[in-house]
């Protein structure tokens, strides 16, 4: 069976499993749907959270960024795992004790104000839509490769599938479906990594393989060899920091607090049976996430090594060491069809020269000594690396098919979850609770679907020309969540004096400052070509990139909340009592309905 048919078979089979489970475990009532049944164990909840959490950004995009940025991409690894520490210690147990189902509900009650609730809804929708734009990019990449069409066509088909997937009731938040998705996803990620680790080193575990010696008898360590390979072509060293320390610090912090402020993750902790389970669920979630996150550095490094040595398969400068374009491997041709990989024969020798022509010194040497006229790999989209990785390493077809299924599972589960979060905040938190209290259940459902369709169209349109690679766009979403939701929640729990006006002012200052900063460099409302300033370190305020600003936005939020709260009337007695109450686990009871 050829690769094409096999991929369809594997993807089809995994979808059949998800649908089968969804039908088998169909939620009987609205409440059952939200809490996914009281009998869910911590580890099961953790696994489902992992599937919900690990999206196209984690699965498809992150290792690609690591491959090309090396050490500097550590921000994503630390940022997207360290946030669970904050979540487990600062938010989850208290929100569980509070015992409602959505983040705006908590904010509305704790700050005794519809205004605060509406502000929270606005922040939540802004962050979620940005997040979905990043997912759309990943979905477009996965579908374009899978169906062998160009990126835009792949994106349109992906949008259609996401729509059906999210609207199909049974697929929403059912824990068992997500457990199945997690299993597919982690299997698809780790199996090729193990194969490749065994190809290059003698270690089965990629986590160990990356720190081991190559198995070609040279005794050279994997990372030393990689550093050598890339610096020989004029690229920056893989393991050494290139960007500014300040920006790395801010970006990591922004991703961490954004993780703890993202509504679709927090919601999972509202639904565990007990407060103690909220703490341990966060641990389980991080355990299942760490399986992928500790594998990703090996995937990235080994993909970079295999890609580079496929094109440059011998000593730099020797003519035969550059692969002939006519003899390029099949994966190269497949990715050329998507338009995400492009070659241009600048010196007309029919061979591929892949090197860093922005390194002036090296480029001059390459031209004078070897007649190289510029880097001929004019486009290597970072987001293709994970999907192309098993093909580059010449792994068996079933592994390649499995990776496609895993990528789709990751992208679809998260996109669907987020779209549901968007649609429920519009139909439930906005319409039903504030503007149209008498709306019928049917109209509420309808409004939710309309909102969802709108969100897919907006995100799909912006996903065609996204303001960065999938993981970078998702990082912007984290900045927005970090600057708005997290500080409001934390002040609500840890600072009794924080009041309604302080919370609203804080959230507004946080999200607006971050949003404006991002729009200035990435284009207003992410429309391409509308940026006010060029997006490079020289123009950034204090050298802080748009993706890192969320940490500063969060700080502004905290300070505004504190100052404004102290200048205005303290919260009423019953609110202070509420804060006392959520701080202790005793008497948690079940999460209650709306």
């Amino acid at each position: 069976m050829d690769l094409h048919d096999l991929t369809f078979l594997v993807v089809g089979a995994t979808f059949a499993v998800y649908i089968g489970i969804a039908i088998w475990a169909r939620a009987g009532s609205t409440k059952e749907f939200y809490v996914a049944g009281g009998g869910i164990k911590s580890w099961q909840n953790g696994m489902a959270t992992g599937a919900d959490w690990m999206s196209a950004a984690s699965f498809i995009s992150m290792a690609g960024l690591i491959a090309f940025k090396g050490y500097d991409a550590s921000v994503y690894l630390m940022g997207w795992t360290g946030g669970y520490v904050l979540l487990a210690m600062l938010l989850a147990p208290y929100l569980r004790k509070f015992g409602k189902f959505t983040v705006p509900e908590f904010i509305g009650d704790r700050f005794y104000s519809q205004g605060a609730r509406l502000t929270a809804v606005g922040c939540l929708i802004t962050a979620s839509i940005t997040y979905v734009i990043g997912q759309m990019k990943g979905i477009g990449v996965a579908f374009s490769r899978f169906l062998e069409v160009d990126f835009t066509t792949g994106l349109f088909i992906g949008m259609g599938i996401v729509f059906i997937y999210a609207v199909l009731g049974g697929m929403k938040g059912i824990t068992y479906t997500q457990i199945a998705q997690y299993v597919v996803l982690i299997f698809a990620y780790t199996v090729p990594a193990i194969f490749i680790s065994l190809n290059l080193t003698d270690s089965v575990l990629p986590q160990i393989g990356l720190g081991s010696a190559m198995n070609d008898g040279s005794g050279t360590f994997m990372l030393d060899r990689l550093n050598q390979t890339v610096t020989d072509l004029g690229f920056a060293s893989y393991t050494i920091q290139q960007g500014s320390t300040m920006n790395m610090f801010m970006l990591t912090l922004s991703l961490m607090i954004g993780t703890a402020g993202l509504p679709h993750v927090i919601v999972r902790f509202f639904t565990v049976p007990k407060v103690a389970d909220a703490r341990s669920s966060a641990g389980w979630a991080l355990f299942f996430i760490a399986l992928l996150y500790t594998t990703a550095p090996a995937v990235g490094a080994m993909a970079r090594y295999n890609l580079t040595t496929t094109i440059q398969n011998g000593e730099v400068g020797v003519v035969e060491a550059n692969i002939e374009y006519a003899e390029r491997p099949q994966w190269f041709k497949n990715w050329e069809k998507t338009g995400l990989l492009k070659f241009e024969d600048k010196n007309g020798d029919g061979r591929i020269q892949y090197y860093n022509d922005k390194n002036k010194e090296f480029a001059a040497k390459a031209e004078a000594e070897w007649g190289w006229k510029g880097n001929e790999m004019v486009k290597i989209d970072r987001d293709i690396m994970v999907l192309a990785n098993p093909e580059i390493a010449q792994l068996p077809n079933w592994v390649i098919a499995l990776v496609a299924a895993g990528g789709l599972a990751a992208a679809l589960s998260t996109a669907a979850g987020l779209l549901l979060a968007i649609s429920s905040s519009i139909s439930h938190d906005l319409l039903k609770s504030v503007f149209m209290p008498n709306i019928s259940e049917k109209s509420e459902l309808m409004a939710g679907r309309v909102a969802m369709s709108g969100a897919i169209l907006v995100a799909g349109y912006l996903g065609m020309n996204p303001p960065g690679f999938a993981a970078q766009v998702v990082a912007l979403a984290f900045g927005l969540a970090a600057s708005s939701i997290f500080p409001a929640l934390m002040m609500g729990i840890f600072y009794k004096r924080s009041n309604n006006i302080g919370a609203v002012a804080g959230m507004l200052v946080g999200i607006l400052s971050t949003l404006i900063y991002i729009f200035m460099y990435k284009g207003w409302f992410f429309v391409p070509g509308t940026a006010s300033l060029p997006d490079n370190p020289a123009n950034w305020f204090l050298g802080i990139s748009p993706g890192s600003f969320g940490a500063l936005g969060a700080l502004l939020n905290f300070v505004t909340n504190y100052v404004v709260s102290n200048m205005t009337a303290p919260p009423p007695e019953h609110i202070q009592q509420l804060v006392e109450d959520i701080r202790i686990p005793r008497g948690s009871g079940e999460a209650t309905g709306h």
Binding site: T81, A88, P93, G211, T252, R279, P297
Partner: protein, 89 residues
């Protein structure tokens, strides 16, 4: 709430906060200090084929985060019971 309960509540919250401070200090140290601020100095040492700072940034900090949550979760369970704040079965 009676006076006794209130005192227990205050002591419980204090115990929680000091555990939090300890955990967050470790959280900050292993990721930001070892993985970012002092990465160059750390990279002069190595762990197998990994430069040590690079290892903390891409592997070690994740393991430590996991350990921290487990540790916090167990310690908090003990504190809950000590102050009688745990959930009734």
């Amino acid at each position: 709430m009676t006076q006794k309960n209130e005192d227990a509540g205050v002591a419980y919250w204090k115990a929680n906060l000091s555990l939090l401070k300890l955990c967050l200090a470790i959280w900050f140290f292993c990721s930001y200090v070892l993985g970012i601020f002092f990465v160059d100095a750390m990279n002069t040492m190595s762990l197998g084929g990994y430069p040590l700072g690079f290892w903390f940034a891409q592997q070690g900090s994740i393991y430590i985060f996991l350990f921290l949550i487990v540790f916090y979760s167990i310690r908090m369970g003990q504190i809950d019971r000590k102050f009688g704040m745990d959930e009734e079965e």
